[in-house]
Protein backbone atom coordinates (compact mmCIF):
# COMPACT_ATOMS: atom_id res chain seq x y z
CA UNK A 1 0.00 0.00 0.00
CA UNK A 2 1.26 3.41 -0.88
CA UNK A 3 1.71 5.62 2.04
CA UNK A 4 2.02 9.37 2.37
CA UNK A 5 5.78 9.03 2.71
CA UNK A 6 6.03 7.42 -0.71
CA UNK A 7 3.90 10.07 -2.37
CA UNK A 8 6.05 12.81 -0.89
CA UNK A 9 9.14 11.09 -2.23
CA UNK A 10 7.67 10.82 -5.67
CA UNK A 11 6.67 14.49 -5.73
CA UNK A 12 10.05 15.60 -4.51
CA UNK A 13 11.64 13.52 -7.24
CA UNK A 14 9.51 15.15 -9.90
CA UNK A 15 10.12 18.65 -8.61
CA UNK A 16 13.87 18.10 -8.50
CA UNK A 17 13.84 16.83 -12.05
CA UNK A 18 11.98 19.89 -13.33
CA UNK A 19 14.71 22.21 -12.13
CA UNK A 20 17.01 20.51 -14.52
CA UNK A 21 20.73 20.72 -14.61
CA UNK A 22 22.09 24.21 -14.07
CA UNK A 23 24.29 25.50 -16.93
CA UNK A 24 27.70 26.05 -15.48
CA UNK A 25 28.65 28.58 -18.32
CA UNK A 26 26.70 31.77 -17.78
CA UNK A 27 28.44 33.95 -20.50
CA UNK A 28 28.50 33.10 -24.26
CA UNK A 29 30.78 35.82 -25.68
CA UNK A 30 30.62 34.68 -29.27
CA UNK A 31 26.82 34.39 -29.29
CA UNK A 32 26.34 37.81 -27.67
CA UNK A 33 28.87 39.38 -30.04
CA UNK A 34 27.16 38.00 -33.11
CA UNK A 35 23.76 39.10 -31.85
CA UNK A 36 25.15 42.56 -31.12
CA UNK A 37 26.76 42.86 -34.55
CA UNK A 38 23.55 41.65 -36.18
CA UNK A 39 21.33 44.15 -34.36
CA UNK A 40 23.76 46.99 -35.09
CA UNK A 41 23.89 46.04 -38.77
CA UNK A 42 20.08 45.91 -38.91
CA UNK A 43 19.79 49.32 -37.25
CA UNK A 44 22.41 50.88 -39.56
CA UNK A 45 20.78 49.33 -42.65
CA UNK A 46 17.29 50.48 -41.63
CA UNK A 47 18.61 53.97 -40.84
CA UNK A 48 20.44 54.19 -44.16
CA UNK A 49 17.38 53.09 -46.10
CA UNK A 50 15.21 55.58 -44.23
CA UNK A 51 17.67 58.41 -44.79
CA UNK A 52 18.04 57.58 -48.48
CA UNK A 53 14.27 57.40 -48.90
CA UNK A 54 13.78 60.75 -47.21
CA UNK A 55 16.57 62.31 -49.28
CA UNK A 56 15.08 61.02 -52.52
CA UNK A 57 11.59 62.13 -51.52
CA UNK A 58 12.62 65.73 -50.89
CA UNK A 59 15.15 65.79 -53.72
CA UNK A 60 12.42 64.87 -56.20
CA UNK A 61 10.23 67.64 -54.82
CA UNK A 62 12.96 70.16 -55.60
CA UNK A 63 12.76 69.34 -59.29
CA UNK A 64 8.97 69.29 -59.39
CA UNK A 65 7.49 72.43 -60.92
CA UNK A 66 4.29 73.46 -59.23
CA UNK A 67 1.81 74.89 -61.68
CA UNK A 68 -0.92 77.11 -60.34
CA UNK A 69 -3.68 78.02 -62.72
CA UNK A 70 -4.40 81.70 -62.32
CA UNK A 71 -7.33 83.01 -64.28
CA UNK A 72 -6.08 85.70 -66.59
CA UNK A 73 -8.30 88.64 -67.40
CA UNK A 74 -9.85 87.89 -70.78
CA UNK A 75 -9.19 90.58 -73.33
CA UNK A 76 -10.37 89.94 -76.84
CA UNK A 77 -8.37 92.49 -78.80
CA UNK A 78 -9.85 91.36 -82.12
CA UNK A 79 -13.37 91.90 -80.82
CA UNK A 80 -12.50 95.38 -79.54
CA UNK A 81 -10.90 96.26 -82.86
CA UNK A 82 -13.91 94.92 -84.71
CA UNK A 83 -16.29 96.96 -82.54
CA UNK A 84 -14.19 100.07 -82.97
CA UNK A 85 -14.07 99.61 -86.72
CA UNK A 86 -17.83 99.19 -86.81
CA UNK A 87 -18.44 102.30 -84.72
CA UNK A 88 -15.89 104.32 -86.67
CA UNK A 89 -17.79 103.43 -89.83
CA UNK A 90 -21.06 104.41 -88.19
CA UNK A 91 -19.56 107.71 -87.05
CA UNK A 92 -18.18 108.33 -90.51
CA UNK A 93 -21.47 107.57 -92.20
CA UNK A 94 -23.39 109.66 -89.65
CA UNK A 95 -21.09 112.62 -90.31
CA UNK A 96 -21.37 112.00 -94.01
CA UNK A 97 -25.17 112.02 -93.98
CA UNK A 98 -25.38 115.13 -91.86
CA UNK A 99 -22.55 116.81 -93.78
CA UNK A 100 -24.02 115.92 -97.15
CA UNK A 101 -27.37 117.25 -96.08
CA UNK A 102 -25.85 120.54 -95.04
CA UNK A 103 -23.75 120.98 -98.16
CA UNK A 104 -26.21 119.62 -100.67
CA UNK A 105 -28.25 122.12 -102.59
CA UNK A 106 -31.78 120.95 -103.34
CA UNK A 107 -31.78 119.73 -106.92
CA UNK A 108 -34.35 118.29 -109.19
CA UNK A 109 -36.18 115.27 -107.92
CA UNK A 110 -34.75 113.07 -110.64
CA UNK A 111 -31.24 113.47 -109.28
CA UNK A 112 -29.93 110.28 -107.85
CA UNK A 113 -28.40 110.88 -104.48
CA UNK A 114 -25.31 108.87 -104.13
CA UNK A 115 -22.52 109.68 -101.77
CA UNK A 116 -19.29 107.87 -101.54
CA UNK A 117 -16.51 108.41 -99.14
CA UNK A 118 -13.20 106.73 -99.47
CA UNK A 119 -10.56 106.92 -96.81
CA UNK A 120 -7.04 106.00 -97.70
CA UNK A 121 -4.63 104.89 -95.08
CA UNK A 122 -1.01 106.00 -94.88
CA UNK A 123 0.06 102.92 -96.74
CA UNK A 124 -2.19 103.87 -99.59
CA UNK A 125 -4.62 101.03 -99.09
CA UNK A 126 -8.27 101.84 -99.38
CA UNK A 127 -9.54 101.42 -95.85
CA UNK A 128 -13.20 102.01 -96.03
CA UNK A 129 -15.90 102.91 -98.39
CA UNK A 130 -19.25 104.23 -97.36
CA UNK A 131 -22.11 104.31 -99.76
CA UNK A 132 -25.53 105.65 -99.24
CA UNK A 133 -27.86 103.61 -101.37
CA UNK A 134 -29.64 105.02 -104.30
CA UNK A 135 -32.92 106.56 -103.33
CA UNK A 136 -35.86 106.53 -105.65
CA UNK A 137 -37.07 110.04 -106.37
CA UNK A 138 -40.33 110.93 -104.74
CA UNK A 139 -42.03 111.80 -108.03
CA UNK A 140 -41.50 108.33 -109.42
CA UNK A 141 -43.30 106.66 -106.55
CA UNK A 142 -46.90 106.00 -107.19
CA UNK A 143 -48.55 106.90 -103.94
CA UNK A 144 -51.58 104.76 -104.74
CA UNK A 145 -49.54 101.70 -105.52
CA UNK A 146 -47.37 101.91 -102.49
CA UNK A 147 -49.14 100.41 -99.57
CA UNK A 148 -46.06 99.49 -97.61
CA UNK A 149 -43.23 101.89 -98.19
CA UNK A 150 -40.22 100.12 -99.57
CA UNK A 151 -37.30 101.58 -97.77
CA UNK A 152 -34.98 98.69 -98.22
CA UNK A 153 -31.40 99.81 -98.04
Amino acid sequence: MIETKDITKMVQHVVRRKRGIADPQIMHPMREWVIGIGVAAAVVTAGSVLAATLYNYYDEKRDTIITVSETLVPYNAALIESALTQYRQKQQQYNLIVGTSISSVPTTESTKETATSTETTESGVVKDEIRIPEIIPQETVDAEAVTTPDLAI
Binding site: L50, L54, Y57, Y58, K61, I66, T67, V68, S69, E70, T71, L72, V73, Y75, A77, I80, E81, A83, L84, Y87, Q89, K90, Q91, Q93, Y94, I97, V98, S101, I102, E113, I132, P133, I135, I136, P137, Q138, V141, A143, E144, V146, T147, P149, L151, I153
Partner: protein, 176 residues
Amino acid sequence: MTKSTKTTSIIAASYFTLFAGMLSCALYLVHQQGSSLDETRHALAEHSAKEVAYNSVVSITENSQTKREELAGYFITERDTVGFIADIESAAAIIGVGFITTELSVTELQSIDGVVVPATLVVGSKFTGTKTAVNKFLILLENLPYHTNIPSVTLSNQSEDGTYTGQAEIILTIKP
Protein backbone atom coordinates in the same frame (compact mmCIF):
# COMPACT_ATOMS: atom_id res chain seq x y z
CA MET B 1 17.52 37.94 -12.01
CA THR B 2 20.25 39.71 -10.17
CA LYS B 3 20.23 43.34 -9.17
CA SER B 4 22.95 44.14 -11.67
CA THR B 5 20.93 42.55 -14.50
CA LYS B 6 17.90 44.56 -13.52
CA THR B 7 19.93 47.81 -13.50
CA THR B 8 21.44 46.99 -16.88
CA SER B 9 18.02 46.21 -18.31
CA ILE B 10 16.56 49.45 -17.02
CA ILE B 11 19.47 51.46 -18.43
CA ALA B 12 19.13 49.65 -21.78
CA ALA B 13 15.38 50.27 -21.90
CA SER B 14 15.92 53.92 -21.02
CA TYR B 15 18.50 54.29 -23.78
CA PHE B 16 16.22 52.52 -26.23
CA THR B 17 13.29 54.74 -25.30
CA LEU B 18 15.43 57.85 -25.43
CA PHE B 19 16.89 57.07 -28.85
CA ALA B 20 13.56 55.87 -30.22
CA GLY B 21 12.03 59.13 -29.04
CA MET B 22 14.84 61.14 -30.60
CA LEU B 23 14.45 59.26 -33.87
CA SER B 24 10.69 59.85 -33.87
CA CYS B 25 11.25 63.51 -33.07
CA ALA B 26 13.76 63.81 -35.90
CA LEU B 27 11.40 62.12 -38.34
CA TYR B 28 8.56 64.37 -37.20
CA LEU B 29 10.70 67.46 -37.68
CA VAL B 30 11.76 66.29 -41.14
CA HIS B 31 8.12 65.71 -42.04
CA GLN B 32 7.12 69.10 -40.66
CA GLN B 33 9.88 70.86 -42.57
CA GLY B 34 8.81 68.97 -45.67
CA SER B 35 5.23 70.19 -45.25
CA SER B 36 6.47 73.70 -44.67
CA LEU B 37 8.58 73.43 -47.81
CA ASP B 38 5.53 72.31 -49.79
CA GLU B 39 3.44 75.18 -48.49
CA THR B 40 6.18 77.68 -49.24
CA ARG B 41 6.66 76.36 -52.76
CA HIS B 42 2.90 76.50 -53.40
CA ALA B 43 2.77 80.04 -52.02
CA LEU B 44 5.67 81.01 -54.27
CA ALA B 45 3.99 79.43 -57.28
CA GLU B 46 0.71 81.24 -56.52
CA HIS B 47 2.57 84.48 -56.02
CA SER B 48 4.33 84.04 -59.35
CA ALA B 49 1.04 83.27 -61.09
CA LYS B 50 -0.59 86.32 -59.53
CA GLU B 51 2.36 88.43 -60.56
CA VAL B 52 1.99 87.22 -64.14
CA ALA B 53 -1.74 87.97 -64.03
CA TYR B 54 -1.10 91.41 -62.54
CA ASN B 55 1.50 92.23 -65.17
CA SER B 56 -0.91 91.02 -67.82
CA VAL B 57 -3.68 93.27 -66.50
CA VAL B 58 -1.32 96.24 -66.24
CA SER B 59 -0.12 95.63 -69.78
CA ILE B 60 -3.66 95.30 -71.13
CA THR B 61 -4.75 98.42 -69.24
CA GLU B 62 -1.87 100.48 -70.55
CA ASN B 63 -2.06 99.22 -74.11
CA SER B 64 -5.83 99.54 -74.39
CA GLN B 65 -6.06 103.02 -72.85
CA THR B 66 -6.74 104.87 -76.11
CA LYS B 67 -9.07 102.18 -77.43
CA ARG B 68 -11.05 102.14 -74.19
CA GLU B 69 -11.39 105.90 -74.27
CA GLU B 70 -12.50 105.77 -77.90
CA LEU B 71 -14.94 102.97 -77.17
CA ALA B 72 -16.32 104.84 -74.15
CA GLY B 73 -17.14 107.70 -76.51
CA TYR B 74 -19.68 105.46 -78.23
CA PHE B 75 -21.74 105.19 -75.06
CA ILE B 76 -23.73 108.11 -73.80
CA THR B 77 -23.82 109.08 -70.17
CA GLU B 78 -26.94 110.06 -68.31
CA ARG B 79 -25.97 113.70 -68.40
CA ASP B 80 -25.58 113.53 -72.20
CA THR B 81 -29.20 112.54 -72.82
CA VAL B 82 -30.40 116.08 -73.41
CA GLY B 83 -27.46 116.73 -75.70
CA PHE B 84 -28.23 113.55 -77.63
CA ILE B 85 -31.84 114.61 -78.20
CA ALA B 86 -30.68 118.05 -79.31
CA ASP B 87 -28.16 116.47 -81.70
CA ILE B 88 -30.66 114.13 -83.28
CA GLU B 89 -33.22 116.91 -83.59
CA SER B 90 -30.72 119.16 -85.32
CA ALA B 91 -29.58 116.29 -87.57
CA ALA B 92 -33.21 115.61 -88.48
CA ALA B 93 -33.72 119.28 -89.23
CA ILE B 94 -30.64 119.29 -91.45
CA ILE B 95 -31.93 116.28 -93.36
CA GLY B 96 -35.36 117.83 -93.66
CA VAL B 97 -37.33 115.69 -91.27
CA GLY B 98 -39.59 116.98 -88.56
CA PHE B 99 -38.60 115.18 -85.37
CA ILE B 100 -40.59 115.06 -82.16
CA THR B 101 -39.58 113.21 -79.03
CA THR B 102 -42.59 111.35 -77.69
CA GLU B 103 -40.97 109.38 -74.90
CA LEU B 104 -37.87 109.76 -72.82
CA SER B 105 -37.22 107.33 -70.01
CA VAL B 106 -34.30 105.71 -68.29
CA THR B 107 -34.25 102.11 -67.12
CA GLU B 108 -31.91 101.53 -64.22
CA LEU B 109 -29.04 99.11 -64.17
CA GLN B 110 -30.28 95.72 -63.04
CA SER B 111 -29.05 92.21 -62.52
CA ILE B 112 -31.09 89.38 -64.01
CA ASP B 113 -29.95 85.87 -63.04
CA GLY B 114 -26.52 87.19 -62.26
CA VAL B 115 -26.22 88.95 -65.60
CA VAL B 116 -25.81 92.70 -65.30
CA VAL B 117 -28.06 94.56 -67.67
CA PRO B 118 -26.82 98.12 -68.12
CA ALA B 119 -29.01 101.16 -67.75
CA THR B 120 -30.66 102.29 -70.95
CA LEU B 121 -32.21 105.45 -72.30
CA VAL B 122 -35.42 104.84 -74.19
CA VAL B 123 -36.27 107.51 -76.72
CA GLY B 124 -39.61 107.36 -78.49
CA SER B 125 -39.81 109.56 -81.54
CA LYS B 126 -42.10 110.63 -84.30
CA PHE B 127 -40.78 111.97 -87.57
CA THR B 128 -42.28 113.35 -90.73
CA GLY B 129 -40.81 114.19 -94.09
CA THR B 130 -40.52 113.35 -97.73
CA LYS B 131 -39.65 109.82 -98.68
CA THR B 132 -36.07 110.79 -99.50
CA ALA B 133 -35.65 112.63 -96.25
CA VAL B 134 -37.26 109.86 -94.21
CA ASN B 135 -35.09 107.32 -95.98
CA LYS B 136 -32.04 109.31 -95.13
CA PHE B 137 -33.19 109.78 -91.58
CA LEU B 138 -33.60 106.03 -91.14
CA ILE B 139 -30.08 105.50 -92.41
CA LEU B 140 -29.02 108.15 -89.94
CA LEU B 141 -30.75 106.29 -87.12
CA GLU B 142 -29.02 103.09 -88.16
CA ASN B 143 -25.70 104.83 -88.04
CA LEU B 144 -26.02 106.66 -84.78
CA PRO B 145 -22.49 106.57 -83.39
CA TYR B 146 -23.68 105.14 -80.10
CA HIS B 147 -24.44 101.70 -78.76
CA THR B 148 -28.09 101.60 -79.75
CA ASN B 149 -30.91 99.24 -80.43
CA ILE B 150 -33.92 100.17 -82.49
CA PRO B 151 -36.54 97.54 -81.72
CA SER B 152 -39.38 99.06 -83.70
CA VAL B 153 -39.94 101.41 -86.60
CA THR B 154 -43.31 102.05 -88.17
CA LEU B 155 -43.92 104.07 -91.30
CA SER B 156 -47.06 105.31 -92.92
CA ASN B 157 -47.54 107.09 -96.18
CA GLN B 158 -49.69 110.20 -96.26
CA SER B 159 -50.98 109.81 -99.76
CA GLU B 160 -52.45 113.32 -99.86
CA ASP B 161 -49.22 115.25 -99.68
CA GLY B 162 -46.76 112.44 -100.33
CA THR B 163 -45.10 112.76 -96.95
CA TYR B 164 -44.16 109.88 -94.76
CA THR B 165 -44.73 109.71 -91.06
CA GLY B 166 -42.84 107.31 -88.89
CA GLN B 167 -42.33 106.30 -85.33
CA ALA B 168 -39.19 104.80 -83.91
CA GLU B 169 -38.08 103.60 -80.57
CA ILE B 170 -34.40 104.03 -79.90
CA ILE B 171 -32.75 102.33 -76.93
CA LEU B 172 -29.32 103.62 -76.02
CA THR B 173 -27.02 101.95 -73.55
CA ILE B 174 -25.95 104.34 -70.85
CA LYS B 175 -22.38 104.17 -69.65
CA PRO B 176 -22.38 103.70 -65.87
